[in-house]
Amino acid sequence: MSAPAPIRLHGLTLGYDRHPAVHHLDGTIRAGDLLALAGPNGAGKSTLLKGLTGEIPVLDGRIERPDDIAYLPQADAIDRSFPVSVMDLAAMGLWRRLGPWRSLRRAAPALRDALAVVGLSGFEARPIGTLSGGQFRRALFARLILQDCRTILLDEPFTGIDARTTDDLLALVRRWHGEGRTVVAALHDFAQIRTHFPTTLLLAREPVAWGPTARVMTADNLARARSLSEAWDEDAAICDGTRHAAPREAHAHGHSHAHEHGHSHGHEDAA
């Protein structure tokens, strides 16, 4: 497969009702990167992923991104009572190739393979409403396989999923990485991030650190991420964008460097 394009973020600000949830983020998600998004709840991980897929508009700055992005949202809007089978759900991943009218018949082997990879062989005809949480997540991963995109965004893909399913799906994520795809996953399990993800972006509305996982996931950085306010300040001033430092390039700087770049931003002051 051809190499995926990098995703470049230029002063990216995303949010709701003019309040930023991701604030002035600069950087590049390199092609073929396996990147973890870490940070407390409300840090802007989901918002960043939604911004990358184009689901929400940017408030400021811009994103350079490739066209083929597969996205697994945290809270899906899937109607599980609708009478479709596991096969039907996974086959939705073929939309880009088959469109509304082309026959599924020629894609049947690929479909069976994808279900086998996620361990759902034999579940083809099961209505989606009868699946357990883990089985359902496996079916969604089968759909991701069939989408065959070079960039894959996962929003908390393993939340509420047991260890065995998580291991199976993590193996799939590593396989995607091995195939040269770009994978970005928002995660809460720090041990998982340290073990499986070579690079990490630590977010707390502001980017805290971005680089090799070992240098990003330091006690110091994590404490700073926790201390950044989650509060939504109704009276926040209009941001003029001048008082912002770039996230610390963890691979370029030692971590003793940390406090020199301290952010002094209106939101923090007010909170």
């Binding site: 949202p73 899906d76 609708f82 009478p83 479709v84």
Partner: protein, 287 residues
């Protein structure tokens, strides 16, 4: 012994009525199945009300004329569907709320128009239809609507199912979601306008929804549910026409009450979650 086919063999108007109802029975219930599965069942009721002012406007302009009232109904129904859909997709309002707003405006306008020009008799025609007086243009209209519905459903089937199951995903891979949604709303309107000719505005919804809801008790898969809904609608049309002839009942209500009876029977005896099945629980399996 009464031959249920006798009136259809004997009288041309009964054959016409049957042909019209069968056309409607093939096209409206599959649309109703999608409405039911999307939890939009009551939406068809609202749409039926929305069609009224258009038909009334046609009546005011041209009297009891099929083309004028049909075009009027189509315009009003499509306008309400499009406006409600557009408001839903661009503002914070959900579909039910925006639809309720527009159909109420439309309905009030319709009642105003009818009262300015019409008499009680005309209003009865609106509400209860004229299935026993279907002329050639009306039959052609019903047949055309049936064809259009089946062809359109076949064309948009895949994206429509995706839009129902996972609209977020469809939006991420395709821009078909919006057009497909509007095409579907268009089918609802077209079928209600067709039904309003045969059964009247209020009862048109009956033949769209009752067989669809009843079919849920007979089939689990989507395709099978749609097939079952058509079978039930055909049965209801036939039974309703026969009964209305035999006992001299108004035709529209007779058909819808037949569909209602089939619904009650399905709810009780249907193999997929019917009441009796719930009471007599089969022994569970080993795995």
């Amino acid at each position: 012994m009464i031959d249920p086919f006798a009136p259809f063999i004997e009288f041309g108007f009964m054959r016409r009525a049957l042909a019209g109802c069968l056309a409607l029975s093939v096209s409206a219930p599959p649309v109703g199945v999608f409405l039911m599965l999307r939890r939009m069942s009551l939406m068809s009721d609202a749409m039926a009300h929305a069609i009224l002012p258009g038909a009334a406007a046609g009546f005011v302009v041209a009297g009891l004329s099929l083309p004028a009232m049909t075009i009027g109904g189509l315009v009003a129904g499509l306008a309400v569907a499009l406006l409600a859909g557009a408001v839903t997709r661009t503002t914070v309002l959900r579909e039910d709320a925006s639809l309720a707003a527009f159909y109420l405006i439309s309905l009030a306008g319709g009642v105003l128009l009818v009262s300015l020009r019409g008499s009680q008799v005309d209003l009865m025609h609106f509400l209860f239809g004229s299935v026993l007086a279907l002329d050639d243009p009306a039959l052609l209209l019903l047949g055309g609507i049936c064809t259009l519905t089946l062809v359109t459903l076949a064309l948009i089937y895949r994206p429509l199912v995706m839009e129902c199951v996972d609209p977020l995903y469809l939006r991420s891979v395709s821009r078909a979601g919006g057009p497909v949604h509007f095409a579907f709303l268009g089918l609802v309107v077209v079928n209600l306008v067709g039904g309003f000719q045969a059964l009247g505005t209020l009862l048109a919804v009956g033949l769209m929804l009752l067989p669809a809801v009843a079919a849920r008790f007979w089939a689990r898969e989507l395709g099978a549910t749609m097939a079952a809904s058509v079978v039930l609608a055909v049965l209801a049309s036939f039974a309703g026409l026969s009964l209305s002839y035999r006992f001299d009942l108004p035709t529209g209500p007779a058909i819808v009450l037949s569909a209602g009876t089939l619904y009650l029977v399905s709810m009780l005896a249907g193999p997929q979650g019917g009441l009796l099945r719930r009471l007599v629980r089969p022994r569970h399996l080993e795995a």
